[in-house]
Amino acid sequence: MRINRLTAAAVAILAATFSTACSGGSGEPSAPAGDSTSAAPAGPVELTYWTWVPNMDKIVAVWNQAHPDIQVTVSKQAGGDDAAAKFLTAAKAGNPPDLVQAEYQMLPSFVAADAVADIRAETEQARAEFGDGIWGLVTLGTDAVYAVPQDSGPMMLYYRQDLFEKYDIEVPKTWDEYAQAARAVREKDPKVFLGTFSSKDPGWFAGLSQQAGAQWWSISGDAWKVAVDDEATAKVAGYWGGLVKEGVIDGMPFFTPEWNKALNDGRLLTWPSAVWGPGVLSSNAPKAEGKWAIAPLPQWNAGENHSGFWGGSSTAVAAKSPDKAAAARFATWLNTDPQALDLLIKEGSIYPASTKGAALLTGAPDYFADQPDFWRQAAAIGATARGFTFGPNVNVTYNAYRDAFDQAVAAKTDFAAAVRTMQETTVADMRKSGFTLAQ
């Protein structure tokens, strides 16, 4: 994995840049590994936890019962970018929660703001539970560990099995075939699109770019290297831009009422999405239950086997938490303990990042009742997902994506220009924030 090549040198850089590595929990003695006995301080340790995983309070109740000395209180928050902004503000004001759900793309900005602690010492035993790609997302390629991975979102192609048969289309194995299929569908039924390009979902585009081998951020020497407009990304943008311009791919964003309706009415045949797709489809397109199937993402070159990540999050410990060791213990339990993983799957309906957790998934999701091997396929696809390093200002890059691609889709202009805008905006913002940039 690329991210793992960033070695010890990067620690020094990060330490120098963020002066975080040392403020973390490295000075704390690691908590006793055993659950039963611990040198408990007087009175139970009270921890607060901000998350938006459904039913997390039920999962935490199990922990609280077993650990009277460490009591966790869940506060359910609204997810997404707003949650990250809220946590950063709270950290700046000096009263963050002890634990926070951190999306992988937001973690670097938390690190840059000194908002999360290094919990390397407490998570040593958890390391073996996770794949290299996922682990790289919480170490940022350094020796520090800034969070424990919770769920992940390897990408795959969701398609309408019944309508593929109706329109006599093969499941596309390459993006070329996907484009052909898009044209064929339009010819057979002008009301129907094979897919849509969403200008509102930068995480989706980032995942597709990862599949093509993009590496938007990297650390080179003592500086950040930003390559949002690298060759792989330009290829992805050019491909979708061409199809949108040709009119064979729709330009409506995901997760809108319009999109829901198209899914329900069978006017949208595919959705390149992540492993958490069933939850979305079952709520937004309940009428199409049992009609969707999954396949690996189409590849750029026949014979290749790559995927990317869209979404996923981790559990981080706030740098200002007075009980970092206890918090790290909880975070480790939550994301590696078999009982907790089982609850996360059943109550929280997440796709666990830990390899052990992924193996716990049996029986297809209700929505995919006809595909008993759903999770096996998903795990196979997940293993092909490429690693990626997120930068410290992903929110800026993502906003630039929304602005630039909104216009590009509406005007059907060159998508490559939109990617360049993303690059320029990202670089300008990092300069302004005082990051050293390699050029």
Partner: protein, 294 residues
């Protein structure tokens, strides 16, 4: 519009013109009413739709899921909806009452007493109207964090008590509604300033106070950003922030659109009820007959 009635006789034309012009404000108001009621009616209709019907049936076709939506909403996280509703009532009711009290007393003081710095204070308040409260939310959060009040009920109540526009409104109203001569007469009869305010001014200010109360109540009821930033504990959330957690529930969780819409509809009901009951206070014309000195 009058041009179309040219052939008629002059007198007839004038009457005609007046009548057709009389329709114009009504028409504008009807248009405005449709414009504002349309989204509300959508919410009401959409709240009756089940999950499956929401995105598949035509927009204004009533659905069959109202009861199940309601029971789902009330069952969601052991009825946290009621807690949020209670919080909202506390924030909006408490905040509006306190804000009305502060605004009335300051507006009255600014209108009826001349003291050094009055102009300056008033101008500062006018300036305060120009600063949108959204801009202040984050600085306020940082300040409240410093004094340890962030994530408490006070953190949402306190910032909404001082509302420059309401003070401005109160001053203007007090100036117009309370004749100086009446206060003078009270003073001659030996009433102290406090008694004067309580017994003479306050009854005359009631319609203005109701206006301020309603303004503030609606503003706090609908406020999102301030509680969103201030509050971390989801048991202190008002409805706006609480329902938002249902909307932005993360990608791997089905979005609970039908619950959000049903919750939104329910949250409208107290506002409508409040307006209908408070309306009568606007009709009372207190100043009539108060001063007989004319």
């Amino acid at each position: 519009m009058a041009a179309t009635t040219l052939p008629a006789t002059a007198g007839h034309a004038r009457r005609q013109a007046r009548r057709s012009l009389g329709i114009v404000p009504t028409a504008v108001l009807v248009l405005g009413a449709i414009y504002t009621l349309f989204p509300v009616s959508w919410v009401v209709v959409a709240a009756t739709k089940s999950k499956a019907e929401l995105f598949s049936t035509s927009t204004f076709a009533p659905g069959t899921g109202l009861l199940s939506n309601l029971s789902d909403l009330f069952a969601y996280r052991d009825g946290v909806f009621w807690l949020w509703l209670l919080n909202t009532v506390l924030y909006a009711g408490g905040g509006a009452v306190l804000s009305t009290a502060v605004s009335t007393i300051s507006g009255y003081a600014l209108a009826k007493y001349s003291f050094p710095g009055r102009g300056l204070i008033f101008n500062l308040l006018i300036g305060g109207i120009l600063v949108p409260s959204v801009v202040l939310a984050i600085p306020q959060y940082l300040l409240f964090s410093k004094v340890g009040l962030a994530d408490t009920y006070w953190s949402v109540l306190l910032p909404q008590i001082l509302h420059p526009y309401s003070i401005y409104l109160a001053r203007i109203y007090a100036q117009a509604a309370i004749p100086d001569s009446l206060l003078e007469a009270g003073r001659l009869d030996g009433a102290g300033e406090w008694r004067l305010f309580r017994r003479v001014a306050l009854p005359m200010l009631t319609p203005g106070m109701v206006t301020i109360f309603l303004f503030q109540f609606v503003a706090i009821w609908n406020n999102f950003l301030l509680p969103f930033i201030m509050l971390g504990d989801d048991h202190r959330f008002p409805l706006t922030v609480g329902l938002y957690t249902l909307l932005a529930a993360g990608a791997n969780q089905p979005s609970l659109y039908n619950l959000i819409i049903t919750g939104t509809m329910l949250s409208l009901i107290p506002l409508i009820a409040l307006f209908l009951t408070m309306q009568r206070y606007w009709r009372t014309d207190l100043s009539s007959g108060a001063v007989k000195s004319r």
